[in-house]
């Protein structure tokens, strides 16, 4: 049962990758998944709109699962953030479907992405919290507030690098240490060295 739902989602994603969001219909998704239209509606009673919304959510969550994998095992807060920002930047830049849909039909994609990023922000904050506590917070910093602030900033740089070149490991390192962590933790480790 979960398999059928998953199959429909993946089939729909394949259609979106080929034709874009606007041109993908319930029929296309059903044909691609090898199920009937009625089956698609059974799993997605809201029809096309619900299906497309769920596909965007699914890929977005999948992206963050990949990100989670990437930062697993990072030894320090700095390393988690550096790896995470660099990986996310690369993944977004290389995500062909995302880039194409953003060019051609951002209006379909963005409301869902924005909603999802609120959920993801909470997930990032949860993930960072133990690292923050372990690292030691600067005096007067509330850990939850700090985690939320960092999650917001991480999402901001992911979506728009602005003046930063996030392909450059040195710049990512500066960004993390100077702009993101300086106020939050006891003292980020200096670049290229470990704390003494």
């Amino acid at each position: 049962m979960a398999d059928t739902r998953q199959r429909i989602i993946e089939a729909t994603y394949a259609c979106v990758a080929r034709w874009g969001l606007a041109k993908t219909t319930v029929e296309d998704a059903a044909r691609q998944a090898g199920v009937s239209r009625a089956t698609v509606y059974r799993y997605f009673p809201g029809g096309r709109e619900e299906l497309l919304h769920d596909v965007v959510s699914w890929e977005f969550v999948a992206f963050f699962l990949r990100l989670y994998e990437e930062v697993q095992g990072a030894a320090s807060l700095e390393a988690v953030m550096e790896r995470g920002i660099a990986f996310a930047h690369r993944s977004i830049a290389e995500h062909e479907v995302l880039q194409r849909v953003m060019q051609t039909e951002p209006e379909t994609l963005l409301p869902t992405l924005t909603l999802e990023s609120n959920r993801i922000r909470e997930a990032i904050a949860e993930f960072l919290l133990p690292y923050l506590l372990e690292h030691g917070l600067a005096e007067g910093v509330d850990p939850r507030q700090a985690a939320d602030f960092l999650a917001r900033m991480v999402l901001s740089y992911m979506a728009s690098p602005g003046r930063w070149d996030l392909d450059d490991a040195g710049q990512v390192s500066r960004l993390v240490r100077e702009e993101l962590l300086a106020g939050v933790v006891v003292g980020p480790e200096p670049r290229g060295g470990s704390r003494t």
Partner: protein, 251 residues
């Protein structure tokens, strides 16, 4: 204010220069459009609606904006950005302590954005209209514009490169809290904004200056009163904030 608005429209890629003759009508049309947007949103607003609301003929609207609705909406975005930046500039220029400058700008920006009648209507009813200006490439453009206009107001405390960076950073903070309001932090409240600036932003500025030290945070070098302690030669308070700002970031 309209003076600045006209200058801001010279931003590359935006409307070309126009004769001064149409300037008052431009503002009237823009303001009428804002009224329409705040009541009925973007999709339902027509050039006829705008003309009626502005109390001028449809033909006049097209004379001022030959491109019709699309061109009017571009002008609305430009004008509102210019008004926002003017207000921020005034607020930042009036403060004489770096923390006050940042707190003032953040409070002013978040308050204006979250209470803007047209914007709040669109966010609620036609979110994608607003969001497309806030994601990926468009967001990079917005950050660049904000940085260009706000950076110079920080030049009393830091060099142009640092000012640009801090301006961009502050813009990100404002955008994040406007797009996804926090249950816990209300940045329209100066006290809470100050807490955020003092906790997260000022130490970052400090680290920016001395990236390889973990020295405790000392705000002294950044206050207008005590510029001498700042990195020698690069930081000098301008005679008046607005004089410095109007000259731009480069000396």
């Amino acid at each position: 204010m309209s003076d600045r608005a006209v200058r801001l429209q010279a931003v590359p890629g935006r409307a070309e220069a126009r004769s001064d003759r149409t300037a008052p009508q431009r503002v009237r049309i823009v303001d009428a459009t804002l009224d329409c947007l705040a009541r009925q949103g973007m999709a339902k607003t027509t050039v006829d609606d705008v003309a009626r609301r502005a109390g001028i003929s449809r033909a006049t609207v097209y004379r001022v904006f030959p491109g019709g609705k699309v061109e009017i909406l571009d002008a609305v975005v430009d004008t509102e950005m210019a008004r926002l930046f003017s207000a921020l500039g005034a607020r930042m220029g009036a403060a004489d302590d770096l923390a006050d400058v940042l707190v003032g700008a953040i409070v002013e920006a978040v308050t204006r954005v979250t209470t803007h009648p047209a914007l709040t209507f669109l966010v609620e009813h036609e979110p994608s209209v607003v969001l497309r200006h806030l994601a990926f490439d468009e967001s990079n453009r917005l950050l660049a514009t904000a940085t260009r206009f706000l950076g110079p107001f920080l030049a009393r405390w830091m060099d142009p490169e640092e000012s640009a960076r801090v301006a961009e950073w502050s813009t990100r903070i404002v955008l994040s809290y406007c797009i996804s309001p926090s249950d816990e932090i209300d940045l329209t409240d100066p006290r809470q904004a100050r807490h955020l600036v003092e906790t997260f932003v000022l130490p970052g500025i400090r680290a920016l200056r001395e990236p390889d030290t973990t020295a405790p945070i000392d705000l002294a070098p950044f206050t207008a009163d005590r510029p001498a302690a700042a990195r020698s030669g690069t930081v000098r308070p301008a005679a008046t904030p607005t004089a410095r700002a109007s000259k731009g970031a480069h000396r």
